[in-house]
Symmetry: C2
């Protein structure tokens, strides 16, 4: 039974299987599903993540700063992503109503429609390569693990 490694030691077999497995699976899935989004909808994974958040509240949109935090991107990356979406007419920028420094990003009608279309094929992909291969118990185990890691 391989237990746990400590400082200076290599990982045990059990630790390696859990850690390298996550790296491999998440890398491949993000890459393959991202390629599908690009091929079929012209969206990068980062684009899609932003649309997901904006679709939570299509009427009000979101403050640029909050949006950046929500999608785990630096402010500057978010600016590029939103600029790209705006250039394609999927998102509109508006000055923040209460704070002249800020800006809000909001889905356009076309953006909402594009998102709904992309979401259907994307979620089908997530089910096919991830959810359908796991039992209900495994989904709960994974969720518990993520909660433990994020405190």
């Amino acid at each position: 039974m391989s237990a746990r490694s400590s400082h200076g030691e290599p990982l045990t077999r059990r630790e390696l299987a859990a850690w390298r497995g996550m790296l491999r699976v998440s890398f491949r899935l993000r890459r393959d599903l991202g390629a599908q989004l690009t091929r079929e909808h012209g969206l990068s994974t980062a684009d899609y993540d932003v649309l997901v958040r904006l679709a939570d509240d299509p009427a009000r949109g979101m403050r640029m700063s909050d949006l950046a935090d929500a999608v785990l991107q630096p402010r500057s990356s978010l600016t590029r992503i939103v600029s790209g979406l705006e250039a394609r007419g999927l998102v509109r920028r508006e000055p923040a109503p209460d704070d002249g420094r800020g800006a809000r990003a909001r889905l356009t009608r076309a953006g909402a429609a594009a998102f709904r279309r992309a979401q259907v094929t994307h979620l089908d992909g997530v089910r096919r390569v991830f959810l359908d291969r796991l039992t209900d118990a495994q989904l709960d185990q994974l969720a518990a693990a993520w909660a433990a890691i994020e405190e």
Copy 2:
């Protein structure tokens, strides 16, 4: 009890927790540990992955094509990565002994030493942000999930 979603439907709460959690955790961990590698050792995550593989057999090294498959990178990406490592004296390229088209990449003495140094702080990081927060049972559950996903 939320069961399973199907075509055209949004994900259930259980499905969302498992899927989004993995995306968030793997993205953050890869990003933060990668930043530490860059800061303290001047290596990208991709550099480190290549060194890990080459360190498996420091004497013989590895065929470029096989190395690319092992680290899940396209051939062209691997060429860039190895060129960078070679420019810093950590890796050496040699013509394949049996096949004039091929090339082998092999760790230099300095490369092996740099890898051992980086590995210590990297594995400490992996333990701190990932392994130490999970029970033995959870490690086994994760490993089983990765196996199910990869068939």
